[in-house]
């Protein structure tokens, strides 16, 4: 289990502001993610969670503030540097975002084909098999995404995200819209990926149960700022009215 005091942060966000037109979405986010830990950013719909995550991978530029990934400030980076940066990340999308015209094998091997031209077809196949077995899938390589269940698709999405051995895996609302059993299956997947690969994970979610299950730290995003953050047990007893109200929906009033 990563400890904030010993692990240096791999992602650090300092006083980040972002508006779209006159709509202020993020108003002074300060956040750090220790290497090897799992941070869950919890917040309601429209709280700016996705916007915050897009800043981490450089898909959006902040109006002001710093985003430091692995020791480098990514805000001033140009397109080519950002492409290099993105190889440190793997991202798992809400609906998996698999390429539906490709088989599972083609999907998972896609990043290898684009970025590891030194590998032979056999080496690629071996790597794809290895990653698929890490996410707990077998004999699915020739299937198309439409032939898989929602939970399996998400696992293939994770296999694709980790195939280049990234340091950080981002999960965009991994359990939204899933039934309880599949939610459990996805939670296990996140925990397994951390255990087996030692990656840093950032999960954005509004699923309280799942957040408390997978997180080393939880940051609560409310009206554009992080109002409380820390170990799940600390956040459970937060005094912030926004956090209390949100957690009550799951834990009840007492």
């Amino acid at each position: 289990m990563a400890d904030e005091k010993t692990s240096p942060p791999i992602i650090e966000i300092k006083d980040l502001h972002k508006s779209f037109g006159s709509h202020k979405v993020l108003t002074g986010i300060t956040l750090s993610v220790p290497a090897g830990s799992t941070l869950v950013i919890l917040g309601g719909s429209g709280s700016g969670k996705t916007v915050l995550m897009k800043h981490m991978i450089g898909l959006l530029k902040p109006d002001s503030g710093q985003v430091i990934v692995d020791g480098e400030d990514i805000v001033p980076m140009g397109a080519e540097q950002l492409e290099q940066l993105r190889r440190k990340f793997g991202m798992v999308f809400q609906a998996a975002a698999l390429f539906d015209s490709m088989t599972v094998y083609e999907n998972v091997s896609f990043p290898l084909r684009e970025h590891r031209k030194d590998l032979s077809e056999e080496q690629m196949r071996a790597l794809v098999r290895e990653k698929l077995s890490i996410v707990g899938l077998k004999n699915v390589e020739e299937k198309y995404p439409s032939d898989l269940s929602g939970g399996m698709r998400k696992r293939v999405g994770l296999a694709r995200a980790i195939v280049l051995d990234p340091k950080i895996v981002l999960y965009d609302e991994p359990t939204t819209g899933l039934d309880p059993i599949t939610t459990d299956y996805v939670d296990e997947m996140i925990l397994d990926a951390k255990k087996q690969l030692g990656v840093t994970s950032v999960v954005i979610s509004h699923d309280i149960a799942s957040a408390f299950k997978v997180a080393d730290n939880i940051a609560f995003l409310y009206q554009g700022v992080i109002v409380d953050q820390g170990h799940p047990s600390k956040l459970r007893h937060s005094e912030h009215p926004g956090v209390k109200l949100f957690l009550q929906t799951w834990f009840g009033k007492n």
Binding site: R86, G90, M91, A97, F99
Partner: protein, 257 residues
């Protein structure tokens, strides 16, 4: 009442200018990313196959029947004053300069443009485009560049096929059906049809091909709002492409002369 009418016109003009600007910006991006490595030859050939090879049959069929219809109608007109020998030149000039590029581009719009737009739109709304970006693959380079190049290259080639089959259709009706002598048809056509006429059609084909691929890509790439949004983007792309072909046809024709 008057106020809202003026406002409506203003909004329409504003939106039109905005779309033209968006198209121009996208063309610039596509050019920029088309000259940078990596060059994905396989993707390009897949689009050549889809846009070009896949459209041969419908373009050929449209070509044959356009030539036949045109020969039939011009025969009826020229027959009134015994000038049937002009059917060959009339058919060949109209086909090479106008009908081939316009009809070939319209067929490609319907067949390939609509598919391009829905495919890109679906990829956009299901976050597949974002996924490409997070995997450090530029989506403009990966998705748009091969499609736009395919439009630019394949439509002129389809125009050539249209030319050939349109003329054959015209020949068939004039000579085989109506009984004009083959020599008259061929020599008269040779007298009137210049290489410049064929070149004009090919240039128009290239302009139209670039335009329809760009519109389909632009609308699909910027689609939003789920399945309904993709449908709407495709409708808009089809309307804009078809109208654009006729508008461009006039201006390219004027510019070339």
């Amino acid at each position: 009442m008057l106020y809202s009418a003026i406002e409506g016109i203003g909004t329409g003009v504003y939106k039109f200018v905005e779309e033209i600007g968006g198209l121009a910006a996208m063309l610039f991006e596509v050019i920029k990313w088309s000259v940078r490595p990596p060059f994905r030859v396989q993707n390009l050939f897949a689009q050549f196959d889809f846009v070009g090879v896949g459209s041969i049959f419908i373009v050929a069929l449209t070509g044959v029947f356009s030539g036949m219809v045109f020969a039939h109608q011009s025969w009826r007109a020229f027959d009134l004053f015994n000038a049937e020998s002009l059917v060959g030149p009339t058919v060949s000039l109209t086909i090479t300069r106008e009908l081939a590029p316009v009809f070939a581009a319209l067929m490609v719009t319907m067949r390939a443009g609509s598919a391009m737009c829905t495919e890109l739109g679906t990829m956009r709304v299901t976050e597949q485009v974002d996924a490409l970006e997070t995997m450090a693959v530029n989506p403009i380079q990966y998705l748009l560049v091969p499609r736009v190049i395919a439009g630019l290259v394949m439509v002129p080639l389809l125009v050539m096929i249209f030319d050939l089959l349109g003329l054959s259709g015209g020949y068939f009706v004039a000579v085989t059906v109506k009984g004009l002598s083959a020599g008259t048809f061929v020599t008269r056509t040779q007298q009137w049809l210049d290489p410049e006429d064929i070149a004009e059609g090919l240039i128009k084909g290239a302009v139209f091909g670039l335009f329809i691929a760009l519109v389909a890509c632009y609308k699909g790439y910027n689609a939003h709002g789920g399945a309904k949004g993709v449908g709407q983007a495709t409708t808009e792309a089809m309307v804009a492409s078809a109208l654009g072909i006729f508008i461009l046809d006039y201006f390219v024709g004027v510019l070339l002369h």
